[in-house]
């Protein structure tokens, strides 16, 4: 077993643990292959179980022979361990460092985790593409499922099954794939049943500097337009950026070749800039020595909320084109795996009431993120405390969740789930006992045999006793489109994530509980009224029966 080699000191006694808002705990520190455990060995006190994969970075300090290890987690929590003995401390620190940066995915905890609950509904089979397509099939016959990518040879980052226009055959699709970044040809993302308009997504067209064109590509995307209708191409890059991409073989849909389409450029930042933004934001939130001016200027300089505003604005634009303009939309940036997915998934939150339910949201994450090939493994391998220069890391998914939170805040009664559900997804995207967010795309997940070897997050979340915690008590199904405001006054810092460990949420939690209590009690009362009514009606008919014979 390789882990034993990495663990130089498996346990140390008399370690003191400091956590935000909790009393210090003194106890024994144990390192296992996947967990850092601190136990006071008293039943009454809480233990700490921390996944090594949740550790973003560590720092060590020494005062005499007393060492301190500061553990910074991907969920943004910071804990401190006081470890007596310099050698023990150094050993623990280097072991944690090694265990939290394992190279091989198959050594990760999900491959070792055995659920303590009975898997009733296997989450790996809950959201199959065939199933979600059935619904679209019942509404329109303009689309079909294509298995052209069944061996991942056309596009390695796409799933084996994809929805494409019915009139386009697989041969054409193969050609289109060669004209789109990483083979990501335009596929159906969303069908708006109100007016039959669609949203598609793809990678950028590979026009290059000499303006290559591809008739098949034009044919494919034109096949999605109704006679006489125009469509919109939403490019998530600035016009400049898109032009520059030509030099590297990328490019844009030239109007001359796509006369029925209007191209709109929006600027959503690229991943390395987003990662920097997260680091700056978390730094600002964690520094308690700031005065007001410094806090506001750091919040501003992080650009986090600017990014939120840009992403939401672009999603609103896409939704507007579909719902208000009655036009179909194609969304892409460069690769079509990041900003593109933010836009297509948020537009669905706005347009589609189903995506605002728990199941619907899970399905959305499955379709638009996991199946669509958002590289979770790369994006979420480090969080805000990473010391190394970001290579692939970026909080693309976290930004999406933050945007959903912003909409949830503006429409508190229109979502079946609450904020905790969004926070749960954030945590599990970065570190988890479940296999759902491992790998970068369906191809990798298949190779890793995740469905066979790991448990799906959905298997756990969808158990009624777990789901309950994530239900929004205010939810009243709202079948309509919800338009969020994107003015700066309407967008707030997501305290539930970014201030979670910096200020007590006791009073806010109490208010939430109180709200649930009132709502529950009201339901109880209404059902009692109904029971009494029924009983009264029964008594009355009995009376009538007594009188009549």
């Amino acid at each position: 077993m390789e882990f034993a080699e990495l663990i130089k000191t498996p346990r140390v006694d008399n370690v003191v643990l400091h956590r935000p808002f909790m009393p210090r705990v003194e106890g024994t520190l144990c390192l296992t292959g996947h967990h850092l455990i601190l136990s006071s060995r008293q039943d009454s006190k809480e233990e700490l179980w921390l996944l090594h994969s949740n550790i973003d970075s560590i720092e060590k300090r020494f005062v005499g022979s007393l060492g301190t290890v500061i553990v910074k987690c991907k969920d943004l929590r910071i804990i401190q361990l006081d470890i007596p003995g310099m050698e023990e401390c150094l050993n623990i620190a280097s072991s944690i460092e090694a265990l939290s940066t394992l190279d091989s995915v198959t050594l990760m905890y999900p491959f070792f985790y055995r659920p303590m609950f009975e898997v009733i509904e296997d989450g790996w089979n809950t959201f199959l593409p065939e199933q979600s397509f059935k619904q679209i099939e019942s509404l329109t016959d303009e689309w079909r499922l294509s298995y052209v990518n069944k061996d991942f040879s056309v596009c390695p980052s796409y799933p084996p099954v994809l929805a494409v226009p019915k009139s386009i055959d697989d041969e054409t699709i193969r050609k289109v794939a060669t004209f789109r970044h990483a083979g990501r040809f335009p596929v159906l993302s969303y069908y708006h049943k109100k007016n039959g308009m669609v949203m598609m997504r793809s990678g950028q067209p590979l026009t290059g500097s000499n303006g290559r064109r591809c008739k098949e590509d034009e044919k494919l995307i034109n096949a999605t337009l109704r006679a006489g209708k125009r469509g919109y191409i939403i490019d998530t890059r600035s016009s400049n950026m898109a032009q520059q991409a030509k030099a590297r073989g990328g490019g844009i849909e030239v109007e001359a070749h796509y006369p029925q389409w209007r191209r709109i450029h929006k600027t959503i930042e690229r991943s390395n800039i987003l990662q920097e933004s997260l680091i700056k934001l978390v730094e600002a939130c964690n520094d308690q020595s700031h005065n007001m001016d410094r806090w506001l200027s750091k919040l501003e300089a992080s650009n986090w909320l600017t990014n939120i505003k840009e992403i939401l604005t672009t999603a609103c634009l896409a939704a507007q084109c579909i719902d208000r303009e009655g036009a179909s939309v194609l969304v892409h940036g460069t690769e079509g795996t990041d900003s593109t997915l933010q836009v297509t998934s948020l537009a669905q939150i706005i347009l589609d009431p189903t995506s605002r339910t728990i199941r619907g949201f899970e399905s959305l994450v499955e379709r638009e993120w996991l199946q669509a090939g958002h590289p979770f493994q790369q994006r979420c391998s480090q969080s805000a405390y990473s010391n190394s220069k970001p290579k692939w890391e970026a909080p693309v998914f976290l930004l999406f969740l933050d945007c959903v939170w912003q909409i949830l805040r503006q429409f508190p009664c229109s979502f079946q789930f609450n904020e905790h559900f969004l926070i749960l997804l954030f945590e599990h995207a970065y570190a988890s006992q479940f296999g759902t967010f491992l790998g970068n795309n369906a191809f990798e997940r298949g190779k890793l045999k995740l469905p066979q070897k790991t448990v799906s997050l959905w298997s756990w979340v969808n158990r009624p006793q777990e789901t309950e915690r994530f239900l929004n008590p205010l939810f009243e199904a709202n079948s309509l489109v919800i338009w969020p405001s994107v003015s700066p006054q309407s967008l707030l810092l997501w305290e539930g994530v970014f201030l979670r460990w910096n200020r007590s949420s006791k009073c806010l939690d109490e208010a939430y509980e109180e709200m649930i209590h009132i709502i529950e009690h009201n339901k109880e009362l209404q059902s009692k009224v109904n029971t009494l009514r029924r009983q009264l009606a029964e008594l009355e008919t009995e009376d009538v029966q007594l009188e009549t014979p």
């Binding site: 650009n303 429409f411 508190p412 006054q489 109490e510 109180e514 009690h521 009201n522 109880e524 009362l525």
Partner: protein, 644 residues
């Protein structure tokens, strides 16, 4: 428009006026502008849709005529409740007329011309008297435990001779003689000698307030030193007392050159002197001005907004006031030390800080009634110059400052941190804030008690408190957990806890607010609950009364009801220590025209909220006939779609 003519006496009207939308480039609406003696009314007519905007003249802060454009003459109106309206009047002459009239009407020269003097909720004289006795400060002193061994109520100032801006009845240390008091008052700016603000009966520590001493560089006053000694002696549990100067040190030092200044620790026994650095009224006025500019930016970027917010300094000032309040509350509750607070004159920053500290210490002030008492006591009675600070009358614009607004915002910031600790909700704060400026009621007219008595406000105007109490149901906080659930509040004052208050400063920009209101939802549930309870009893009576033979089932049902009443969470209504006053204010005879702008706005927004619940999407104008009839005017509202 007969209706308007009859009620107010229409002064004049202008046709074909356009109202520009503040944020979008939507085609401006066209309509008619009416000026009455009390309101500016704009009626927008678009096919069958009719929308009215009512603005009370007293709510108007500034009127600007902008350079003539091809479409007409623009008139920009800023209101004290942060509404901004931008009209385009076709003819320059009409615009000039409206402009001149509004300048006059918004700031009359004499107090008698204020709205409160003509406002008549159709009550008789007796009711008016009762309305003024709703809040009785003596009762609050009793509640705090006064008089007691250390403190007494004195009427030394009954003819306002010792201090013209103090009320006639004041609480002072028992050991302070008349000579001490009079002597101390001569050594304090405007005679505002140290008096009790709040007595914390749990440990006998007290918060006292006064104005700056006339110490200059060296002057001292034996009586003033005795006065402070008396305050210290009134709290035998503590070996020292704090003297808190709420000004920045530099300002206080500058005052010394003018023969004023601050206490020299060496001259007073056992005082700990402390500056807390809240800026003066001029800095605050400018800060709010900058904040307004930020709020009015047309489609600002996030950076524009945050940078503007920072540069305005507004939240920095709010934090400074909050920090000072927290300092006082901690000194009293934790260190058991009494605190004497002053600024320059002791009617602005001192009022903010003392009332905030009282509110942190005492759950009573976090109830609807308690909050009214607190405003009466620390603000109205102690001579916060509402008339000048709110610019109610023609006068020096440099006297205007958002001191009270800041206090209200501090409360909102506290409510954000302690959502279950207040009996009232955000709407109540906004309504109170509105009425401070509306001059519809007499409470906030004048600068001190003497002025109010001279104006005979109790005989000529009505009190706002019964009017607000009448509408208590709207102002309740559904998740309030009662006055015993929270003791002393210890807010976190790290910068990230202070948020921009959109519902105040962008109050009229509905597009920015959450489209579904948790508050409305919860308030609806609360009223459903009382309906449900009534139904349970009604049904039970029917069952029990109709079929005596079926006792078994009936008893089962009453069990069911018992268990129900046990689990019922009641919204605690704290009225402890306050005599119940029968409220006759604003019942059937009161029509919509009598309530303020904000309540009208709320009624509209209720329709909107309802609309967006059932129809969160399309902006369909809704005409609510029954409401329109009930209010005597046609109220039409349309939901705003997302602003971008």
């Amino acid at each position: 428009m007969n209706y308007v003519k009859n009620v107010f006496g229409l002064m004049f009207q202008v046709e074909q006026v356009k109202l520009l939308d503040r944020y979008t480039n939507k085609k401006p609406a066209a309509g008619t502008l009416y000026l009455t003696a009390t309101h500016l009314i704009y009626v927008e007519t678009l096919a069958d849709v009719r929308k009215e905007t009512w603005i009370l003249h007293h709510h108007i802060a500034t009127v600007e005529k902008l350079p003539l454009t091809t479409t007409g003459c623009p008139l920009l109106i800023h209101c004290k409740n942060f509404r901004v309206v931008h009209f385009i009047i076709p003819r320059e002459r009409d615009c000039q007329d409206v402009y001149v009239s509004l300048l006059k009407l918004s700031q009359p020269a004499k107090p008698e011309e204020l709205y409160a003097f003509v406002y008549n909720p159709k009550q008789n004289k007796a009711d008016r008297g009762v309305s003024w006795s709703t809040i009785d400060l003596k009762v609050d002193y009793q509640r705090m435990g006064l008089p007691n061994d250390y403190w007494e109520i004195t009427d030394l100032n009954k003819s306002y001779e010792i201090c013209s801006t103090y009320p006639s009845e004041l609480a002072v240390p028992k050991t302070a003689s008349k000579t001490t008091i009079v002597g101390s008052s001569k050594f304090r700016s405007r005679g505002r000698f140290p008096v009790l603000s709040y007595f914390y009966k749990e440990n006998n520590a007290a918060i006292c307030r006064c104005s700056q001493p006339l110490s200059g560089f060296t002057a001292r006053c034996v009586e003033d030193e005795q006065m402070l000694q008396a305050i210290g002696d009134a709290n035998p549990g503590s070996p020292f007392m704090y003297v808190v100067d709420t000004r920045p040190k530099l300002n206080a030092m500058a005052n010394r050159a003018a023969g004023k200044g601050y206490e020299n620790e060496d001259n007073y026994s056992n005082i700990h002197f402390q500056f807390v650095g809240i800026e003066n009224i001029h800095v605050m006025r400018n800060s709010l001005q900058k904040l307004m500019e930020v709020c009015e930016m047309k489609s600002p970027s996030m950076s524009d907004f945050l940078t503007g917010l920072e540069n305005s300094g507004w939240l920095r000032h709010i934090k400074a006031v909050m920090d000072a309040g927290v300092f006082l509350a901690k000194a009293v509750a934790e260190e058991k030390a009494s605190v004497l607070v002053h600024c320059s004159d002791g009617w602005d920053r001192t009022a903010q800080v003392c009332s905030l500290a009282s509110l942190l210490l005492d759950p009573y002030y976090r109830t609807i009634r308690g909050f009214m008492v607190l405003i009466e006591k620390e603000w109205i009675s102690m001579g916060h110059k509402f008339s000048q600070r709110c610019g109610q009358l023609e006068g020096d614009p440099k006297e205007v400052s958002p001191v009270f607004t800041q206090f209200i915002e501090c409360l909102w910031q506290l409510m954000e941190q302690f959502p279950c600790a207040f009996q009232f909700n955000e709407r109540f704060l906004l309504e109170v804030h509105d009425h401070v400026y509306s001059c519809q009621f007499g409470n906030f007219i004048g600068n001190c008690q003497k002025e109010r008595e001279d104006l005979k406000l109790h005989e000529r105007t009505y009190s706002v408190w019964p009017f607000l109490l009448e509408k208590t149901m709207q102002y309740l906080n559904p998740v309030y957990r009662g006055s015993s659930a929270f003791g002393v509040l210890q807010p976190n004052t790290l910068p990230f806890n202070f948020k921009f208050w959109c519902a105040m400063y962008n109050c009229f920009d509905k597009g920015m607010h959450p489209k579904q209101s948790i508050l409305d939802h919860m308030l609806a549930l609360i009223s459903q609950k009382s309906d449900g309870k009534g139904k349970v009893i009604e049904l039970q009576n029917k069952i029990g009364g109709g079929c005596g033979a079926l006792t078994k089932e009936a008893s089962n049902l009453s069990d069911a009801q018992n268990s129900l009443s046990l689990s019922t969470p009641n919204i605690p209504l704290d009225c402890a220590g306050e005599p119940e006053v029968s409220l006759t204010n604003g019942t059937a005879g009161m029509k919509e025209e009598l309530s303020s702008d904000r309540s009208r706005e709320q009624k509209e927004s209720k329709i909107e909220a309802h609309n967006s619940f059932s129809n969160g999407e399309t902006p369909v104008p809704v005409v609510s006939k029954s409401i329109a009839q009930a209010e005597g005017v046609s109220v039409v509202s349309s939901t705003a779609a997302a602003d971008e």
